[in-house]
């Protein structure tokens, strides 16, 4: 990679170790910010759930519990203890990997969440992958043809796709793809999860596509402008003047230069994908984290909600920070050493 780095960003020799140290310090700084943010997030989550109306004991006790039974349930669930003690208990558990137990059926939240993440994480990754696979070629084509009606049509179409709600896309895929072809199930996920990977993947394709189309529409605009930037660069013009085919210039030079910022943008997309997954999990009746959260909120399973929200927040924050850091480390303008 270093041999093809543009000459104008080459660093003076002898500053390599200094640069490594600076990158390391920046990463450390990022990590510290991450930890503080996570602690703040945990407090916000805990605080908001503590003031959420609705008594968890009343939900479990049902329509016929006596006041004494409710009191006993509250004590059993630790709801009679002070807020700070409950928070410290919970955080202490989370730090040692114990996410608590569900108030409804006494199942460990970690086990439940692990099961659901086996659906939601592959769904999210598949959606991200599909959105990149759609956005990169479409974006590049839109950039190359930006002056023509074809290019403008692509840009307009991507605007339109970004405006269509995910559940409408999901329904359309169900009615126009799943039903006529019978290649994909309309709903559900194998009960034994990934025992048969083909089956599991088959259940995820349409929901992932529904999320991916919306996300891709946003990415297309990014890829398009990044590619236009590259096309305007002098070294592209130089390459073209030297008789290199445009395709080769774009693939060898342009893609790499556009790909790095793309990593950072993908980090930002993760939260959007997660939002989309809540919707498509509901629509396609997938047993993922989204459905779990909705059910838990309805049942006021507070321990389960706060642990799940915290793990999701941590996942999004960590992957965003990692992707941003990765793009910075990979960027030859920073990484280059003597």
């Amino acid at each position: 990679m270093s041999t093809t780095a543009p000459a104008q960003v080459r660093m003076p020799a002898g500053h390599g170790s200094h640069r490594v140290r600076r990158v390391a310090a920046e990463l450390l700084n990022e990590a510290a910010v991450l930890v503080v943010s996570l602690i703040a997030a945990s407090m916000v989550i805990f605080g908001l759930l503590a003031v959420l109306p609705g008594d968890p004991a009343a939900v479990i006790g049902g329509m016929d519990a006596t006041p004494e039974q409710l009191e006993a349930l509250r004590a059993q669930m630790g709801l009679d203890r002070p807020l700070w003690a409950r928070y410290l208990d919970w955080m202490g558990g989370v730090l040692t990997g114990d996410l608590g137990t569900s108030a409804l059926d006494s199942r460990p939240v970690a086990a439940e969440l692990g099961e659901k993440l086996q659906v939601t994480v592959p769904l999210g990754l598949l959606a991200l992958l599909l959105s990149v696979l759609i956005a990169v070629p479409v974006g590049v084509v839109a950039a190359v043809y930006r002056e023509s009606a074809f290019g403008r049509a692509i840009a307009a179409l991507s605007q339109l796709a970004a405006a269509v709600p995910t559940f409408v896309l999901g329904l359309a895929l169900m009615v126009f793809v799943a039903l006529p072809t019978r290649l994909f199930p309309v709903q559900g996920f194998p009960a034994d999860r990934w025992a048969e990977p083909g089956e599991a993947l088959r259940a995820l394709i349409l929901p992932a596509t529904a999320i991916a189309i919306g996300q891709a529409a946003v990415l297309v605009r990014f890829v398009r402008s990044a590619t236009i930037d590259v096309l305007m660069k002098e070294w592209v013009r130089t390459g073209l003047a030297q008789g290199w085919p445009l395709r080769a210039v774009l693939v060898r030079q342009g893609m790499r230069n556009a790909a790095l910022p793309l990593l950072g943008v993908l980090g930002l997309e993760i939260a959007g994908v997660l939002m989309g997954s809540v919707i498509v999990e509901q629509l396609f009746a997938l047993p993922g984290v989204g459905g779990m959260l909705l059910a838990d909120v309805g049942n006021r399973d507070i321990v389960s909600i706060q642990s799940t929200l915290f793990v999701l927040t941590a996942l999004v924050m960590i992957s965003t920070v990692t992707l941003t850091a990765l793009s910075r480390v990979l960027d030859p303008r920073i990484r280059r050493t003597s």
Binding site: G54, V186, G291
Partner: protein, 500 residues
């Protein structure tokens, strides 16, 4: 050159996408053949836990009752009491002593034989003081439960209870092992024709035939309940053959699927009432004229049309299939002029009320009510809350004015005899009638008393009863043997068959 690049990119993208889309699908469509078909049923509500001894909720009852867990007696679809774990029983003349002959050769799902000790312990636990059994309130009249020999269990009541046998068909009467290594919250250990297969939380729950079942083996190879919240998805799943039966669908879905010869649409009776609850203890609802006025201001026929038509106008808290049914639709006929007069008489011409309602119901219903009441000068604010909040504010703390809820318990009529229930309806006559009904010597006498309760609460406008929804079931044309009535709390699946 540009064109070449563009087409390459497009083709490449297309190939990648097509590869993603089609490769996993190959060779996975061959249906597994088995001797008897697995029946796939879409139901709306998922249980929160599987422990029938502590958990309430229609989602759990629908799956477990008579399928996984059984009591000494069972309930047919026509509400007839059938022998189950007791092969026979006798009731003393004073109606206080029930002597059951317990069936021999019954095995729990974990393989241990069922004994009279299990029966006694189960009934003692559910009828004990402070029992957390969701149906414990039905066992209030039980004084003692004892085994007199290896096959006889005697239950003594402190007072007559004409509904006692029916109570034994609910969770309060289920027989579970005295000692069991099975965690009942996530597994099951009953005596029914099915045992739990797999609970894929958030998606499906499967039941498998129990090989050592004492009675007739199920006619199918098992049942999978699919928890699909979205109606459109459910309809698509039926069309694609992923489910065989949709148990309970909206009017729109039924109409959509009904036009297709591939499906059968069957209407069944339910025992449920969409109830407009008045907080009888607070002004102005402590005035019968105000309650009556609100009832007369709402056009029930039009409301039923608005929600799609699959419902009955009732006028009180009974349905035609109840043995104690009375037609009270005339107790508060739609008449907005009369409603205005009543409000004027009560001095309540400028009423502002809050309707607190759980977000589980279609907003079109509450909006219709608010619009109708606005026409008689009552300003209604709709306060939509989550069910958990509703339970706390309205149900437990009784902090509300107007509320709306679907009651599904056939015994709801008897709650008008309980002044502590969330309606705050305190009427000595109703309380006496309900007690007398429970202590009746014959079903006829009970029915007569309950009819009197139904008429009383209608005349008193204790609540308003907006409609009684009917259950609509849609099934594939080759599916047979499924129950249609009261399936939300009595849904036996062992007789269902389908062509593979």
């Amino acid at each position: 050159m540009r064109r070449t690049f563009a087409s390459t990119a497009l083709i490449l993208g297309g190939v990648l996408l097509a590869g993603c889309a089609s490769s996993p699908a190959t060779g996975t469509d061959a249906p597994e053949s088995s001797e008897s078909a697995i029946i796939d049923i879409r139901v709306g509500l998922e249980p929160t836990s599987l422990d029938v001894t502590t958990t309430s909720g229609a989602g759990l009852v629908q799956v477990m009752r008579g399928n996984v867990y059984e009591g000494l007696v069972g309930l047919s679809e026509d509400l007839e009491i059938l022998p189950a774990l007791a092969s026979d029983w006798e009731i003393s003349d004073d109606g206080l002593t029930y002597t059951f002959t317990v069936r021999e050769g019954v095995t729990f799902h974990d393989g241990t034989p069922m004994t009279v000790a299990d029966v006694v312990a189960s009934l003692q636990a559910s009828s004990a003081e402070g029992s957390t059994n969701p149906d414990a309130k039905r066992m209030g009249s039980v004084a003692s439960v004892e085994a007199t020999d290896d096959t006889t269990v005697v239950v003594t009541l402190s007072e007559r209870d004409i509904n006692f046998l029916e109570s034994l068909t609910t969770s309060a009467g289920y027989v579970v092992p005295v000692e069991s290594s099975v965690d009942l919250a996530s597994a099951t250990n009953g005596t029914g024709p099915y045992t739990l297969g797999q609970w894929n939380r958030g998606a499906t729950l499967s039941l498998e035939p129990f090989a050592d079942y004492w009675g007739e083996a199920p006619l199918n190879g098992g049942v999978v309940y699919h928890y699909i919240a979205d109606e459109t998805t459910a309809a698509s799943a039926l069309r694609s053959g992923e489910v065989d039966i949709l148990a309970g669908v909206s009017a729109e879905t039924a109409e959509l699927l009904g036009g297709d010869a591939e499906f059968q649409v069957v209407e069944g009776d339910s025992t449920s009432w969409m109830t407009l609850g008045f907080n009888n203890a607070v002004a102005p609802f402590d005035d019968q004229r105000v309650r009556q006025a609100l009832r007369q201001a709402i056009d029930k026929q039009e409301l039923i049309e608005v929600i799609g038509g699959q419902a009955l106008e009732v006028g009180t808290i009974t349905v035609p299939t109840d043995a104690w049914h009375v037609d009270a639709t005339g107790s508060a006929p739609y008449d907005q002029a009369a409603a205005k007069e009543l409000l004027a008489e009560a001095g309540q011409e400028d009423l502002s009320l809050t309707l607190t309602v759980a977000n589980t119901y279609d907003t079109i219903i509450t909006e219709f009510i608010a619009a109708e009441l606005a026409e008689v000068g009552v300003d209604v604010t709709i306060d939509t809350v989550e069910f958990a909040t509703w339970l706390e504010d309205v149900y437990t703390n009784k902090d509300y004015e107007l509320t709306m809820v679907l009651h599904v318990d056939p015994a709801t009529i008897t709650y008008y005899g309980n002044p502590a229930y969330y309606w705050n309806y305190d009427n000595a006559e109703a309380q006496t009638l309900v007690t007398e009904a429970r202590q009746s010597a014959t079903p006829e006498e009970r029915d007569e008393k309950l009819r009197a309760v139904a008429e009383l609460v209608a005349a008193d406008s204790a609540s308003d009863w907006l409609y009684s929804p009917q259950t609509v079931i849609v099934a594939g044309e080759d599916v047979a043997g499924f129950p249609v009535d009261r399936i939300s709390n009595n849904f036996r699946v062992s007789g269902i068959t389908a062509a593979e």
